[in-house]
Symmetry: C2
Subunit: 364 residues, 2 copies
């Protein structure tokens, strides 16, 4: 029998003040009927939304919060205005206090990360958190991290990301030794990538619960060359958004091709069931849900512009992470790794090393 989970939901986050949250929870409960929910948000609005969703109503408690973080708010603003009183903060606090197994929000990503760092704090021996995304590939799905939390990571942070991403891959698909690649560019002797090279050396030499593959390039991600792709947040975010944009662009071209002539219309009609499969594969809702890694608690970030089906997918991701004790797994892996290399948390020397790496890049 599986343990009953409690999920803290920021029920007001996302476009249209999260109107997809309750229907999404409904869908998720059909797949995970043994979950309890705590919905944080405006009680009146939520009561209205719960009408017609008796299953969600039966499984949930509503906790009123006066303040909702806006999608366009800067993290610092959101912290000032929403500290303690916002639905986002309170959902995070439920995890911190042990009242919930994980939290999920479709709200403002920057604000959520800022509040999560405040409420949950980074794990021992982890300097900086990462956001891990699911990336659909020709083989299935890979994990890519970091997609926007930490800009310009040094070697030590990249190795931490590798350990965390591998733990997440284990939690999703039960891989014991997921393959891990470091995102890099092709040129052999290009300067400025000391951090990536150094991380590669550590991953190659250390005995970690992962299979280090080596460097991967941008076009390897979608081919599913590795289970986990590690990079710092700037290039990771750009890679993710670029892939989303390219898929959107090709979909536009495809729709135009469909409407091109009467023959193409008939043709696409005949092939419509094949197209349904293609549409499903290209459906961004399928891979909805970023996981914040490196914090003392599981935080799932859903796309703000998703719908009920996408929100349910993100909820399901959180269920997988919680059932597999992701945080404990990461803590134990990081501890083993640190014991191996004998490093402590963010010693001043680590910073100096980072500076040296960046200075070398600057002067190359």
């Amino acid at each position: 029998m599986t343990r009953q989970l409690t999920i803290a939901i920021d029920a007001m986050g996302g476009d249209n003040a999260g109107d997809f949250v309750v229907p999404g929870a409904e869908l998720a409960l059909t797949r995970h009927p043994d979950c309890k929910l705590i919905l944080f948000g405006d009680a009146k609005t939520l009561e209205q939304r719960l009408e017609g969703h008796p299953r969600v109503r039966a499984a949930c408690t509503v906790v009123h919060s006066d303040v909702q973080v806006r999608m366009d708010e800067k993290p610092s603003q959101a912290l000032r205005r929403g500290r303690r009183v916002s639905s986002m903060w309170q959902a995070l606090e439920a995890v911190h206090k042990g009242d919930a197994d994980f939290t999920i929000s479709a709200g403002n990503t920057g604000a959520l990360m800022a509040m999560a760092r405040f409420v949950l704090k980074t794990m021992p021996r982890i300097d900086r958190p990462a956001i891990a995304a699911l990336w659909p590939t020709v083989k299935g799905e890979s994990i890519v991290l970091d997609v926007g939390a930490t800009i310009g990571a040094d070697a030590r942070q990249l190795v931490n990301f590798a350990v965390m991403g591998a733990a997440m891959a284990g939690a999703i698909v039960g891989l014991r030794r997921p393959s891990v690649g470091l995102l890099n560019i092709g040129e052999e002797e290009v300067k400025g990538l000391e951090a990536v090279r150094e991380a590669g050396q550590v991953l190659r030499e250390c005995e970690l619960p992962l299979e280090y593959h080596g460097f991967v390039e941008g076009d390897d991600v979608g081919q599913g060359v590795v289970d986990v792709v590690v990079t710092e947040g700037f290039s990771g975010n750009i890679a993710l958004k670029t892939a989303e944009g390219t898929a959107k662009q090709i979909a536009t071209w495809l729709r135009a091709a469909m409407r091109r002539s009467i023959w193409s219309r008939i043709g696409f009609l005949l092939a419509s069931s094949a197209f349904k499969v293609l549409r499903q594969k290209m459906d961004p809702r399928r891979s909805n849900g970023g996981v914040f890694l490196g914090l003392n608690g599981i935080v799932i970030k859903s796309h703000g512009g998703t719908d009920a089906s996408g929100f349910a997918a993100a909820l399901g991701l959180g269920v997988d992470m919680a059932r597999n004790n992701l945080v404990a797994k990461i803590a134990s892996d990081i501890e083993k790794f640190e014991a191996m290399t004998g490093e402590g948390k963010s010693a001043p020397t680590a910073n100096t090393e980072h500076e040296t790496t960046l200075l070398k890049a600057a002067n190359s």
Copy 2:
């Protein structure tokens, strides 16, 4: 009447020792019949390849070179082995000596850039070169630079890239004030992007022959939001490769969908002319050709794995660049810009500023 151009071709670069070069030149000559060619490479091989291509033979001179740079050679190795004697080096030297208007190679990118910097040198007031790529968008094509030459550019270099990219856009499509965006990530208050922000401020304030749009994200590139997308080489390369990989991935899914059932086969057959248009739009050969910018001469890099049609497209790109006096245009724009801001070439202060920016990023 247009001026006759002479093109220096590294005829041995690319997969299969550039066997697509002569057929590609044949195609290009049908479009640009008034061009003269100098083919650098193994004379015996080239003589064989010229058989059956009387048009190329009539338009070309063959210059024998003993050494061919290998595709997997490190730039330093290639320089040691191929200096002065390789087809790649000699093609570059033809531009340097004024014997040719531009050079093209489908060979090793790193080696080509290293040799180009050696032979042609960077332009006055430009610290570092960039590689600009054509990026197919829903609106047509945009220019993205840098896609791999300069890792971790500072604000000044990013502004130089903007000026060079805008000049290239002018040379391709005759835009007088191309729109330019700086590639960035969404989070408003993420640290570590001082260089990008600083460049944005300069672009906003200076009177340059371009329309500064502001920041763009990865998914804006394929939507053709701006004519020119500026970024440093690491994220630019990753974005380009990721887009290529995503297109390949969707093409794989599409082919699988086509073969799914007898109905889908018939359907796709009926829609085949519409599919031809889609295939053309997704054809990577159409946008083949990177342009090395910031050097005293035009260098075009073709994909190594292209074919005759792709090589001809890259050759045509070079013709556009040369006919529009790209190098002179860039030199004049950069000079005007420097006069405006009163900065000199890579003064020690510029380096120190760069270091400061990177240190800030390191400590954030």
